[in-house]
Symmetry: C2
Subunit: 210 residues, 2 copies
Amino acid sequence: MRSAAVEQTVHPTEAIDSSLPPRQRILIAARDLFYRFGIQGVGVETIAETAGTNKMTLYRHFESKELLVAEYLSGLAAEGERFWDDLDRQYPGDALAQINAWMDEICNQKSRWRDGGCALVNAAIQISDPDHPGRRVIEQTKRKHRERLTALCLASGLSEPQMLADQLFLLVEGSRVFQRSLGPDGCACDLRALFARILASHEPLAVAAP
Amino acid sequence: MRSAAVEQTVHPTEAIDSSLPPRQRILIAARDLFYRFGIQGVGVETIAETAGTNKMTLYRHFESKELLVAEYLSGLAAEGERFWDDLDRQYPGDALAQINAWMDEICNQKSRWRDGGCALVNAAIQISDPDHPGRRVIEQTKRKHRERLTALCLASGLSEPQMLADQLFLLVEGSRVFQRSLGPDGCACDLRALFARILASHEPLAVAAP
DNA sequence: CAATAATGTTACCGTACGGTACCGTTTGTA
DNA sequence: TACAAACGGTACCGTACGGTAACATTATTG
C-alpha cells in the first residue's frame, strides 16, 4: 500500500480510541486495513501508525506479521461464533427462526460485514502459503459455520436438511464473493428472493400448484 | 514469493515449450504463477525466469506489471468466452443441454480449473486498487458469464429462469471459493446433487410427491 | 520517592521488488 | 554477407518492507 492510498481514502480510518491499550488499538487498525487493502497490501508500519503507535510497540505484542494476521483472523472467528451464539440465545429451540434471522443478517450486510466480501474468504485467497498460521483459523471457522447451519437445518424439520444447508451456505459465500467481483456499484442478485424460494422448495409438506 | 517457495513446490512448473515466442511464454508463466502464489506474491523476475527469459524481455513486451496482470486476466476471460461459445456450438438451440454440460464441466473442475478457485475471483480479491486495469476485465467477464447463464435459463423453458440462473451461478461461485477456504483436503459439498435438486425444483410442470 | 515495566523515537539492517540503462549476442531476412 | 530487429545478461536505482538495536520517556506500583 502506498502510504498515499491511506490519506486519499474516503474513510481515513476514523481515529481509534486512544484510551485503549496499544495492543487492542493495533488489532483494530489491522482489522480495518487488512480488510480494505489486503493482507499483503498493508505494511506493519502503516498498521502501527494507524493505531497511534509505532512499529516497535507492535513487535512487542506480536512476534511477527504472520502471527498478527493469525490473531486478526481469530478475532473474526470469535465474532462469528458470538453471532451464532446470539442467534441461539435469541430464538432458543426455534431452528427455523434462527435460520431466518441468519438470512436477515446476511441481507443487512452493511452492518456486520462491509461490502468487500467475507474477510476470512479474502484472507484465504490472499494467503498462498499453506503453512501460514492463519490458514488453520480460516479452515476451522468456515467448517464450523457450515456445521452450525447444517445443525439448524437438521433441527428445522425442513426436508433434505443437509442439502438445504449447503445450498444456503454456498449461496451466501457466492453472493459475497460475486459482489466483490462486480465492484462496489455492481448490483448483485436478489438474495432475499432466493432465500425464500429455496426455503419454500424444502417445505416438508409438498406444496402443489393450485 | 520467496524464490525458495518455487523450488520446493510439488509442481515445479513443468518446463514451458521453449519454441514459443517469449511473449507467449511469459503469459503462460504468469498465468501459472499468479494463480498459485497470488498476484502480489509473484515478482516479475520470477515470471521472466520461469518463462525461460529475463526481466528486460518481459518489459519489452509489457509496459508494467499491472498491464501484464490485465493481460493475464484478459486471457482468462477469452478462455471463458470460448467455453461458452463451444457449448453453444456443441448443443445448438438446446439450452437445457448446454446448462447440463456447463454443470458437468464445473463438476469435473480438475481439468479446466484447478482446485484453487476461480482465478478471476482470486484476482478481484487480491487487487485492492479500484483503478487497476484488471478490474474492468474482471467485472465485465463476471457480468457476461452471469448473463450467458441467464440467457440459457430463459431459453430452457424452466420456471423462474432468472432466479434459477442466479441460484446456479452463486452456487458455483460459492462452491469454488469455499473449497479455497477449506484447503486442498477439505471435502466440499456435493455439487452434482445440488444441481439436480435445483433443476428439479424449477421443472415447469409441478412435480408432486407420489 | 525509587524502581520497574511499558511505551515512544530514531536509526538501522537485509532483502525483495518494480523498473531501467547498457551492451553483447543471436536471429531472421534482404 | 550485411544489416536490423529481437533477445539475453548484468548491473544498477529507488523504494518499500519485515524486523531489530539502543536509548529516551512515561506510567505503574511498591
